[in-house]
């Protein structure tokens, strides 16, 4: 009788790519809750709309590529891309902004490059950068965090949030109360000492952006959960945070008007923690070895600081990540770990010898 023929190993650890992605989605919840508390329901509307679009587009592409859509949708990677882009967009972003962003993320950055696992660039960040460059006005309209201005109206609830993003659904126009982000204000400042700036502008909290401190702490918590679950290793995120903090320390100059901002300010303002634990850790577009990921993370940390302080854009996570995505193959080339029984790291060139 012919028996079942299977190659070794015959055991495998429980779990699949889908479960990895679901852990990531779970870890995003604290950050999303804090953002909703601060900015109202705009974030939730963004997320739901982005997820629907991403699933629809992924299914469509899979049908076009003649693959079973459900098998690929189950890996939840489209959902992760959608949620990451959605939380990076300003709450109450117009509906079409999300369509363009997700379109670029899923159709161009992911599937035109070969689909899951083959994309050299982080899809969510590609979508984000396309939007930032193409629609700078819509992309910089951030809602004011609740409580930053004493007599501010309450943040928008679910229905008003829906109406703000889909104006054609409502007869009366709804507008969220917007203001410049703390990184923006900090960048524009050239006359006030850092202490004075913190005291005078509603954008600032204890050491970071008002409210943004909590957003960052929430994403940090989610990241700690993923580290604990061993979804990724510490190398890339910690290296990025350390490099960013180090750069901030070097250029801090004890808080003059020319200061670049303290390490705490940079770590807990803007998209730092979201970037460190949810973007930099995207395995597909990062370096592959642990040593490589140290360089990769550090490069992103340095670039974030440089672009934030000396570039034209207030925040820089997306640009920094994309630039280092370019560098990942080069890093891989030079950071191959020492194999068992070999004397040292082998560079590929030495290995080939003369032709």
């Amino acid at each position: 009788m012919a028996l079942l023929h299977v190659t070794s190993p015959h055991m495998s650890r429980a779990g699949d790519t889908g479960s990895v992605m679901r852990h990531v989605l779970l870890a995003l919840i604290p950050g999303i809750v804090v953002m909703t508390a601060l900015f109202g329901w705009g974030t939730i509307v963004n997320i739901i709309w982005a997820c629907l679009l991403a699933l629809g587009m992924e299914a469509m592409v899979m049908r076009l590529r003649k693959r079973p859509p459900m098998f690929y949708l189950r890996d939840c990677s489209a959902l992760v891309t959608a949620v990451l882009l959605a939380v990076a967009l300003p709450p109450y972003a117009p509906w079409w902004l999300v369509v363009v962003g997700i379109g670029f993320s899923i159709l161009v950055a992911k599937h035109l490059y070969g689909g899951m696992g083959y994309n050299p660039f982080n899809p969510a960040m590609v979508g984000y950068v396309v939007l930032l460059i193409s629609f700078p006005v819509e992309m910089t309209q951030w809602a004011a965090p609740a409580g930053s201005i004493p007599d501010q109206a309450p943040t928008l609830g679910p229905l008003s949030a829906l109406a703000a993003s889909f104006p054609f659904l409502s007869s009366t126009p709804v507008d969220a109360f917007t203001m410049a982000t703390p990184l923006d204000v900090f960048k524009q400042n050239d006359s006030l000492m850092v202490d004075e700036l913190f005291a005078s502008s509603p954008q600032f909290g204890r050491f970071g952006g008002y409210g943004w401190e909590w957003v960052n702490i929430a994403f940090l918590l989610g990241g700690a959960y993923l580290l604990y679950k061993r979804i990724f290793t510490w190398h890339a995120p910690i290296s990025m945070l350390a490099a960013l903090a180090l750069m901030a320390l070097i250029f801090n100059d004890s808080g003059s008007s020319a200061s670049g901002g303290s390490p705490a300010f940079h770590l807990f303002t803007g998209a730092t923690m979201l970037g460190a634990f949810f973007i930099v850790t995207d395995p597909v577009s990062s370096a592959v070895s642990n040593i490589g990921r140290l360089y990769y993370g550090a490069g992103i940390g340095v670039l974030i600081y440089l672009i934030r302080s000396f570039g034209n854009y207030p925040d820089a996570v997306a640009f920094a990540v994309l630039l280092m995505n370019f560098a990942a193959p080069l890093i891989d080339h030079y950071t191959q770990p020492r194999t068992y029984g070999h004397k040292d790291h082998k560079s590929h060139n030495e290995d080939r010898g003369p032709k």
């Binding site: 028996l3 190659t7 190993p9 055991m11 696992g117 395995p283 191959q336 068992y340 070999h342 082998k346």
Partner: protein, 536 residues
């Protein structure tokens, strides 16, 4: 070689995994004795190296322990009759191989008497010649019992420039489910240590380390209890798969890594499996060749689980049926463990010297593999790899058939332990890709050697042809010169005989010089002319 370090100190290896052990179900009972089957099928090749050459004829009656096939060369082991009976055939039979192939086997119909032939114990092995003792072990047909099956005697003959300082006895048994070594230690620790004594006598190492995982404290205790005044160290280290790989165990116990492409002997180390030590004791002290082994029978598809001492050549079918196995076409039968073992195509294949385990799982126990998803480069495989490779890079290069990159990423150092596949969240059969790539690389290397040979043959032929051509030309020239000389002679008629003789001599010398010149040029030129040839 003897770096100063704490006695019993261990080192950690990179990577490794902790799969469910599933060892308890086959432990706790004494080792069973499998019945002598009606027929024994003995493949001539049961270990690494050349197949043995039969030295019996069909129809011949053999006794238990009688030599039935001789070693064919240095890296080869002989074969003995596991029971008495009649040789009925020497022919191709299906053997336990992942491809389901057939190979030459000696078939013996047993007579049920199980009558021993002459046994040749060595009363005092310290009194015999070293080479004689090694030959005795070789003639007993012993090959590594841990699963790889490397001829044991070969390892006992280290090169003279590489003295052995450390003897490592591998009792790790890191694969899930397998408990053959464990059971053997619990029951026969004293015998095993006698085998280690023989190895110690042969190799004269400075230290003897017996390594095992800390998941079998009873085995460690049994060994320590039997040590008496022997200076052997029994070293336990944290359980982690694949600590029992030879290279991994050496690093765990000595902190050193076997150089890539090298042998443990390069570090002054010889590593032997604990089951091999037992076989050596049986061969030297009891005079019995290797004709049986301890095999773990496990998996939920069996009714009775445990370890059994079984005659080599017993078919898996016979053995498993006695343990309540009722296979269906969807049954999986694995020889070896769940990590590195392979499925056999049919159970009608014989137990061989390397069959340390038969795993007959139910579909719930080891479900069929999931469909592979896309690699997301998560790097869990690199975390798990005990050889510090980058499995996901090897996977991409294997798919792309980039052989130079595969070699640059040291695919040859992959030990195929399966840790990468085990942790892969996308369920990619990584090891299968590496096996295919390694086979392809081997083929390419052979092709390369072949091509090099034919190139050399071509050049040689080319050179020979040209040399012949030149010789012909030279002869032609000589004939021409001779003809010219004769004509000159005729013309000169006979005015001066002396002169003409001198001219003739002159012409002859010239012709010889021309010949020699042609030859010389012929030797100097061929490489050049061949280049042109190849260029065309």
């Amino acid at each position: 070689m003897n770096a100063p370090h704490k006695k019993g100190q261990t080192w950690d290896i990179h990577g490794g995994i902790h799969p469910p052990e599933n060892k308890t179900q086959s432990l706790g009972k004494p080792i069973m004795q499998a019945a002598v089957p009606a027929q024994l099928i003995l493949p001539l090749s049961q270990s690494i190296g050349a197949p043995a050459e039969p030295c019996v004829e069909p129809g011949e009656h053999v006794l238990k322990g009688q030599l039935i096939a001789q070693a064919a060369g240095f890296v080869s082991v002989p074969l003995h009759a596991p029971s008495s009976g009649r040789v009925t055939a020497i022919e191709d039979r299906p053997i336990a191989h992942s491809s389901g192939m057939s190979a030459p086997c000696i078939v013996i119909d047993t007579d049920g008497e199980d009558r021993w032939g002459e046994r040749t114990p060595i009363a005092d092995y310290t009194a015999v010649e070293r080479t004689e003792l090694i030959n005795h072990i070789r003639n007993a047909g012993i090959a590594g019992m841990g699963g790889a099956g490397f001829p044991t005697a070969v390892k006992l003959n280290p090169p003279a420039d590489k003295p052995i300082t450390t003897l490592i006895i591998n009792a790790t048994e890191c694969e899930p489910y397998i408990t053959a070594d464990h059971a053997l230690i619990l029951e026969r620790a004293g015998d095993i240590l006698q085998g280690v004594d023989v190895l110690t006598h042969l190799l004269q190492p400075a230290r003897i380390l017996i390594g095992l995982e800390d998941n079998k404290p009873d085995a460690a205790a049994a060994l320590r209890d039997s040590l008496r005044d022997r200076p052997y160290q029994v070293i336990e280290f944290p359980t982690k798969y694949p600590s029992g790989g030879e290279k991994q165990l050496i690093e765990i116990l000595t902190g050193k890594q076997v150089p890539s492409g090298g042998l443990p002997a390069d570090l002054g180390i010889v590593c032997q499996n604990i089951g091999t030590c037992y076989a050596i004791k049986r061969a030297v002290v009891d005079g019995e060749p290797l004709i049986s082994r301890i095999t773990t029978l496990t998996g939920n598809a069996l009714k009775t689980l445990g370890n059994t001492e079984v005659l080599l050549g017993t078919t898996m079918q016979t053995l498993l049926e006695a343990h309540g196995w009722q296979p269906t076409p969807q049954s999986r039968l694995i020889m070896g463990g769940p990590m590195m073992g392979f499925t056999v195509h049919s159970a009608n294949v014989p137990i061989v010297k390397t069959t340390n385990c038969l795993l007959a799982p139910t579909a719930e126990e080891l479900p069929p593999p999931h469909l592979a998803q896309a690699c997301i480069r998560c790097g869990m495989c690199a975390e798990a790899c005990p050889a510090s490779l980058l499995p996901q890079q090897l996977y991409w290069y294997s798919r792309a058939r980039e052989y130079e990159q595969l070699e640059a990423h040291n695919i040859a150092d992959c030990i195929e332990c399966g840790a990468c596949s085990y942790v892969c969240p996308s369920n990619i059969p990584l090891v299968q890709y590496y096996r295919a790539s390694k086979a392809e690389l081997r083929e390419r290397a052979e092709e390369h050697i072949k091509a090099e040979h034919s190139r050399q043959r071509f050049e040689f032929r080319q050179e020979r042809l040209e040399a012949a051509e030149r010789e012909k030309e030279a002869k032609k020239a000589a004939r021409k010169a001779a003809a010219a000389k004769r004509a000159a002679q005729k013309e000169a008629s006979t005015p001066d005989g002396d002169n003409s003789a001198a001219t003739a001599k002159q012409a002859e010398i010239e012709a010889a010089v021309a010949r020699a010149k042609a030859k010389k040029v012929g030797i100097g030129q061929p490489a050049h002319s061949d280049d042109n040839e190849v260029g065309n």
